[in-house]
């Protein structure tokens, strides 16, 4: 593998581009036949497409249409600005976490909206999800012509099962149906009969239905882990142990949290001679966990991160107009720091052949790589 400043010859390469800000992430996939897809999408500033460098990157590569878009789960850091992407690049395929039906979709949006009323950043994430759902709702109109699939463990997603000639396959490796059922039961139990909210789910509960994808192309395997947590991985390992092994590239799930993997997962996924793992830190929740990074690095050749890994207690709050005494006290008590800059977006790009080798990568700061 080499660190390249030039995009290599595009022919017959599978490309993975991961963008991250320290909050959310966007993942672009270029298939060997030149088609492009997006898995999760995050713009730093709501309503401003220019704040998502993934979209600018698509433009720089001359992309005018998308083959697929996948939304892994209903957390804002995975879909902020996605409705604009759908409008700008209507995909031929839309893959979603399992929603079940329109009523459940509406309940989920209402749930997020009600919870947002209490949050410090109200009334925006639910609106965005509602726009995405609305786009789904309109997708079967002639202008859209988009095929919808819900992803779950073991499901073949792409191409269609009839296309037996394709050397490339995309499969769902999460969520497990058992977890989905439990999630929706818990979600619906949050509502009183009159539709008002009687309780809230833990924030992380939405990770239970997170999609994870595996892209297979001859000997090359890429795992895009979404925010799948321990139980999801355990079930995935049980279901398809022969596929979850010796990957060329892995997007580390759940920002590198210590429950973003299960026992044996990285021993199976990783190959110290070739695996590149890419991390998307989430600074607000102090992720990744250092222990998880140590664990993952033992199994991979290179670990890349789209943003600096910075512990909360090392960050400074610095705002000239605010009372320094006040901010210092908050820093001591709450270990606070200012919301990260929206302009710091790193990119890790990997160019893979069909023999499981990453033939080149590009690291665009503040992203960085470490390893051999």
């Amino acid at each position: 593998m080499k660190i390249s400043s030039k995009i290599p010859d595009e022919v017959d390469l599978l490309e993975l581009h991961v963008f991250g800000t320290g909050q959310g992430k966007s993942i672009l996939v270029r298939l060997p036949d030149g088609k492009w897809g997006v898995v999760d999408y995050f713009g730093s500033r709501r309503g401003d497409p220019s704040s998502n460098p993934a979209q600018a990157y698509l433009g720089s590569r001359g992309v005018e249409e998308l083959e697929f878009v996948c939304l892994t789960h209903p957390h804002d850091d995975h879909y902020r600005g996605m409705s604009q992407l759908l409008e700008r690049f209507p995909p031929r395929h839309l893959w979603l976490f399992p929603i079940l039906d329109a009523k459940t979709a509406a309940r989920l949006a209402e749930y997020l909206g009600l919870v947002e009323l209490d949050s410090s950043d109200p009334q925006e994430a639910a609106d965005e999800l509602a726009k995405i759902l609305d786009w789904c709702n309109r997708r079967n109109k002639p202008a859209a012509q988009c095929r919808l699939k819900y992803v779950d463990l073991g499901k073949d997603i792409y191409p269609s099962p009839e296309d037996t000639q394709s050397a490339l396959r995309i499969r769902g490796i999460a969520p497990a149906p058992r977890l989905m059922k439990s999630y929706f039961e818990q979600l619906l139990a949050c509502f009183r009969p009159d539709g008002t909210l009687q309780k809230k789910l833990p924030h992380r509960q939405h990770n239970v239905i997170s999609v994870a994808l595996m892209i297979e192309w001859n000997q090359t395997r890429i795992v895009l882990g979404g925010d799948v947590e321990r139980e999801g991985w355990r079930l995935a390992l049980e279901e398809c142990p022969d596929r979850l092994c010796r990957c060329a590239a892995v997007k580390i799930s759940h920002h590198g949290s210590d429950n973003g993997y299960c026992d044996g997962l990285w021993r199976a996924l990783g190959d110290q001679s070739r695996t590149v793992a890419v991390l998307t830190p989430f600074h607000n929740h102090d992720l990744p966990d250092p222990e998880a990074i140590i664990h993952i690095e033992e199994s991979v050749k290179v670990l890349c991160s789209t943003a600096p890994i910075v512990r909360i207690d090392r960050r400074l709050s610095a705002h000239s107009n605010a009372s320094l005494e006040s901010r210092q006290a908050l820093r001591t008590e709450f270990q606070t720091y200012s919301a990260p800059s929206s302009t710091q977006v790193g990119r890790c790009s990997f160019f893979l052949d069909d023999r499981g080798q990453c033939v080149a990568c590009e690291i665009d700061p503040p992203a960085f790589a470490r390893g051999s």
Binding site: D127, K200, H203
Partner: protein, 173 residues
Amino acid sequence: MITVDYAFDDFRPRLEQTLAGDQFHCGNSSFAKDIVYDFQELFNQTLNSTRWGRAIKVSGETEDSRENFPGSAQQVLETFTGHVDAIQKGWAFVTLRDPYGEILNGRYSATDLAKQGIGEGCRFECSTIKIGPNQVRISYRPLPSLSGTPEALRIVRERLSLTLDDENFIEDP
């Protein structure tokens, strides 16, 4: 019998009148402090429940505070609306927003917040209060949830205006 130090002879008539009439008002904190010093024990015994005694006590406390923090009383520096975004591994990850929209993120002991009745998904008010030179105290208290009322549901439904059709959420073959 109350005795007054000779230095305050000029004030004796006023003091005696005040004691009798329970109408003491202290306009000079230094003077008040001396009075408190001389008569503290006696006043504590005999006048604790009178407005006079309370006035002296308040003056004395003010003076004590000023020894530690000259110039003014406690001062609220900033007030934030907080939200517990998530709890992980014993930490409450919080977002603080000031009245001007500035956002701070941080973390705090989830156990300590729970003692105040503040858990995941809860709102709270957080203030920084200057209590002395280089001394800032942080106070926080839970705020009521906005999410569980019919009015909240009406607002959200109006905002989202979701009219989804089941047919359009059926998976394509």
